[in-house]
């Protein structure tokens, strides 16, 4: 792996670290359909990395490869300097990769607090038996985790709905709870699948602020997929552009914006 140690300085002066995850020549096929063909890029410690592209470009498939929901047909995923073998999705989650979903996947029947607590399941150490018997350590552990969760609740400004069943919440708040649950896992990489989809302007601004704050406060590495070009350009440090399963651009927002292939893909090009 090249330049493992040295990072770069962003436009707003943040220091970005070495490579945290590297995707090498990823190809993903479903039967005869090629969703992703031969894409390579890296994700660095502490950066906000965006994946953009028109509908059907393979962005969500890419995210699912990173999160372990899909195992690539060809190619390798390197995480923290090690090659990742074939894993089940829950094992990838245990490695420290948390995500949110495009169509919100929360536990509707549970309270906001309980939902966020599930995010900490992988961090809880006490075993089945002591949990069942509710021995001292299990109860003390619960309190510690509860404290961390309360911090995240404060951070995302959702204190008033703490006890509300998630099924009752409006869309924008659900998205925020989902972010809280992912954050509760203290992830190494946070994957956001269209975090602003279906939001109004005000909700979008809130979400933007939270994403930047999360990155700033916890130093979390964030990978996000987004349709809204304005949002992506404002938020991200580096952008991968996909079209028809191929990578057509990769670099800082300003560079990508002026890339002719990207302009063609987004605005269309006259076929003559």
């Amino acid at each position: 792996m090249n330049d493992m140690s040295d990072g770069y300085i962003t436009a707003d002066g943040r220091q970005i670290g070495g490579v945290l995850m590297e995707l090498k020549n990823i190809t993903l096929k479903f039967g005869g359909v090629t969703a992703i063909s031969d894409i390579s890029f890296d994700i660095r410690q502490g950066e906000i990395r965006a994946i953009i592209g028109p509908n059907g470009a393979g962005k969500s498939s890419m995210l699912n490869v990173i999160s372990g929901f899909y195992i690539p047909t060809e190619g390798e995923v390197w995480f923290k300097g090690y090659k990742r073998g074939p894993m089940r999705p829950y094992q990838v989650a245990q490695l420290g990769i948390a995500r949110t979903f495009q169509n919100i996947a929360l536990f509707d029947g549970m309270s906001v607090l309980d939902n966020i607590m599930t995010g900490r399941l992988t961090l809880m150490k006490s075993g089945l038996l002591s949990q069942a018997m509710w021995w001292g350590s299990a109860s003390k552990e619960e309190d510690e985790h509860r404290e961390k969760v309360e911090k995240i609740i404060d951070f995302l400004e959702i204190q008033p709905i703490r006890k509300t069943p998630v099924g009752r919440l409006p869309y924008g708040l659900k998205k925020r709870v989902e972010l809280a649950r992912a954050l509760a896992a203290e992830p190494k990489i946070l994957l956001l699948d269209e975090p602003m989809a279906g939001m109004n302007v005000e909700e979008k601004e809130d979400m933007c602020r939270f994403i930047l704050d999360v990155n700033d406060e916890f130093g979390t590495t964030i990978v996000l997929i987004e349709h809204d070009m304005g949002v992506v350009m404002d938020l991200s440090d580096r952008v991968v552009v996909m079209d028809y399963g191929r990578k057509i651009g990769d670099g800082p927002p300003d560079e990508v914006r002026n890339n002719q292939d990207v302009i063609d893909a987004y605005l269309g090009v006259a076929h003559d």
Binding site: F101, G109, M110, T118, Q131, W134, R168
Partner: protein, 328 residues
């Protein structure tokens, strides 16, 4: 106190005890429903299978004896030893955990993200399979189950009530034990599901498979856990019912009595299963006592179902069921 009132009190008490027995069966249903959204048709058969296995191990029966005899021409039936009750119960619990692992591997694993009706049908298949399998394994004859639980009428209760009211209540010793066991079981299960890490994971899996995977929950582990607990509850129900009325095929039919209990209590609530069981138990005994003689008796056969039907009209989610939330 007038005799009629005392008699009514005794009937109520007996009803409460019977209700506990119903609740024990209903509990198994609730557990699996809560954790996987499956209505487990096989719960009754699971209780039968547990009881059969317990008797088999206790009496040192050779499993598949008939099959072995038929195939080899030998005449084996018993190993010739008996296993102490406590050890036999622990071994049977082990068998139920093993069964849970097998069910997950052969059935559930292949049905991730399928519609609940598919899973429901799978449990119907499972019920018929286990019914036959239990017969082949341990034989189809009616067996007596005795794990040392007290039998007969409680003399303490009789003498105490006699000295207070001048009228001795007849309460079955076994029913008293069942009540104590049920209370312990329900307390433990409620605490486990509400306040433990695994309990939370369990509720998460019931709600959304994909989201559960994304927070690092292994569906496999949770399913094995749930079916093991359900198997354990089935074992407890099997012991109680088996001690009461012998281990035989009809044991699997007690599951039918659990249905109205569930409709009353709600499919998703452990306390609901208990309260539902008590209401049905007391209701059917009192109804038989007060109204039965006027309409020719035998009301216990249908009272529970009619009560459940009335409940379905006015409160379809049951007394304690989760509110059906739908944003419009």
């Amino acid at each position: 106190m007038p005799d009629q009132l005392l008699f009514a009190m005794e009937v109520t008490l007996n009803g409460l005890m019977a209700g506990v027995m119903y609740a024990l069966v209903a509990l198994g249903f609730v557990l699996i429903y809560k954790a996987s959204g499956i209505f487990n048709y096989a719960q009754g058969v699971l209780a039968l299978f547990a009881a059969l296995t317990l008797v088999g191990i206790q009496q040192g029966q050779v499993p598949f004896a008939h099959l072995i005899n038929a195939m080899t021409g030998m005449h084996v039936s018993h190993f010739g030893w008996t296993v102490p009750s406590v050890l036999a119960i622990i071994l049977t619990a082990g068998v139920m955990v093993g069964l849970a692992v097998i069910i997950e591997k052969l059935v559930l694993k292949h049905l991730v993200n399928q519609a609940p009706i598919i899973l429901f049908m799978a449990t119907i298949g499972l019920a018929y399979f286990l019914e036959g399998f239990g017969d082949v394994m341990w034989g189809a004859d009616i067996k007596k189950l005795d794990v040392g639980l007290p039998q007969g009428i409680s003399e303490t209760v009789e003498s105490v009530t006699d000295s207070i009211f001048g009228y001795g209540f007849f309460i079955d010793n076994l029913d008293i034990v069942a009540t104590v066991v049920a209370v312990l079981l329900v307390t433990a299960l409620t605490l486990f599901s509400q306040y433990s890490k695994q309990g939370r994971a369990l509720r998460a899996v019931a709600d959304d498979h994909q989201a559960a995977l994304s927070v690092g929950i292994s569906l496999r582990f949770i399913w094995i856990l749930v079916w093991s607990i359900a198997g354990f509850v089935a074992l407890v129900a099997g012991i109680m019912w088996g001690s009461k009325s012998g281990v035989q095929f009809s044991l699997s039919l007690i599951a039918l009595k659990a249905l109205p209990v569930l409709m009353l209590g709600g499919f998703t609530s452990i306390p609901g299963a208990i309260v539902g069981g008590l209401i049905i138990g007391v209701g059917e005994k009192l109804f038989e006592f007060a109204i039965g003689p006027m309409i020719g008796g035998a009301t216990e056969n249908w009272f529970a179902y009619v009560l459940a039907l009335i409940f379905l009209v006015f409160r379809p989610q049951g007394l304690f069921g989760e509110k059906i939330i739908e944003r419009v």
